[in-house]
């Protein structure tokens, strides 16, 4: 299935969850927040959030910046 992650198309295997996606992307879940189809998802729900074809995810973190 195909997702949009941070504005880019990405193919993942069926049965993927937010947790498996983060693992695949080598992202530490403790340093990010995830918006899934316009909704902010609590960290404890990553494992229980299955991904479907056409889903849109935004994975954000803290970056260098002042104003």
């Amino acid at each position: 299935m195909e997702l949009t992650v941070n504005g880019k198309k990405r193919t993942v295997t069926d049965g993927a969850t937010i947790t498996t996606l983060l693992e695949e992307l080598q992202i530490n879940p403790l340093r990010v927040a995830v918006q899934f189809n316009q909704q902010i998802i609590k960290r404890e729900l990553y494992e229980r959030t299955p991904l479907h074809d056409g889903d849109t995810l935004e994975i954000i973190t803290f970056m260098a910046g002042g104003s």
Partner: protein
């Protein structure tokens, strides 16, 4: 640190602590994390500045993983994180960014920016006020970046802002405090801490902010883009202490004519 006299050095240096939103800081300086030549220099500059709070941007994770993570260079046990909504042009965008930032789980504070214009980066105060109200309701500790406008500062305070952050001059301009009289009026009316945010160019600008009676200063470019960021961070630390001390000491009034400091009696004839 406690000296022989039993007085805390840092507290004396900074003239009491900076308190808001249930937090207390010994340093009155908040430093940014952007524009440094590299993360090592940033880390050293943070250390040299004496700051206990740093501001960070909220952005998409870089999926290419070619960059190092900023968070590897900030000891979050030592520095409080102040996520900002830089780059947001509407209340909606800023609220969404703040909500995501809080979800990272490292801070419920937000340096709230709603920008109105790309060239000046001046705030859109109408949207800012809207976002402040919404985020206060959501339980955030809100630090809005605003103009040096006393009416707006009061409105933000009434909306529940924990701190109000008027600009000294446009972001990154280094022009220093353009309107010290407005800052004074803001300070006179304020019931919450006033932290000057943006426009500081060099140490004297920070000292002037503190001499006026501001509760703190937030800066990024002045340190990060100085020829020697670590040396400038040190200068800023001293400027903050000097300015705060001078404010507490109470300056002499300005006068038009001279007033001799040596006695007029006992002159040799």
């Amino acid at each position: 640190m406690v000296s022989e006299s039993g007085v805390e050095h840092n507290v004396i240096e900074n003239g009491g602590t900076l308190k808001f939103g249930g937090r207390e800081f010994r340093s009155r300086l908040i430093v940014g994390t952007g524009k440094f030549p590299d993360y090592q220099t940033m880390q050293q500059a943070h250390e040299a500045s004496g700051a206990e709070m740093v501001t960070v941007a909220v952005r998409r994770v870089n999926l290419d993983r070619t960059q190092e993570s900023l968070l590897d260079f900030i000891d979050t046990a030592r520095y409080a994180l102040l996520p900002n909504t830089a780059g947001c042009y509407s209340a909606e965008e800023a609220i969404r960014t703040a909500m995501l930032a809080r979800e990272v789980g490292l801070s419920d504070m937000v340096k709230l920016e709603v920008i109105g214009d790309q060239r000046t980066l001046f705030p859109d105060n109408e949207e800012l006020l809207k976002a402040t109200r919404a985020l206060v309701k959501e339980g955030f500790v809100v630090l809005p970046y605003t103009n040096d406008d006393p009416i707006m500062a009061k409105k933000l305070e009434d909306a529940g802002a924990a701190v109000v952050m008027p600009l000294a001059a446009p972001i990154g301009s280094g022009l220093g405090i353009r309107n010290p009289y407005n800052i004074r009026i803001i300070l006179e009316a304020a019931q919450v801490p006033i932290i000057v945010d943006a426009g500081v160019g060099t140490a004297s600008d920070a000292a002037i902010a503190m001499e006026l009676g501001c509760d703190g200063v937030l800066m990024n470019t002045a340190i990060a883009c100085a020829k020697d960021p670590v040396a400038m961070a040190t200068a800023m630390r001293h400027a903050m202490i000097a300015g705060r001390s001078a404010y507490l000491a109470g300056r002499i009034p300005k006068k038009l004519y001279a007033s001799a400091s040596s006695p007029l009696e006992g002159m040799i004839e």
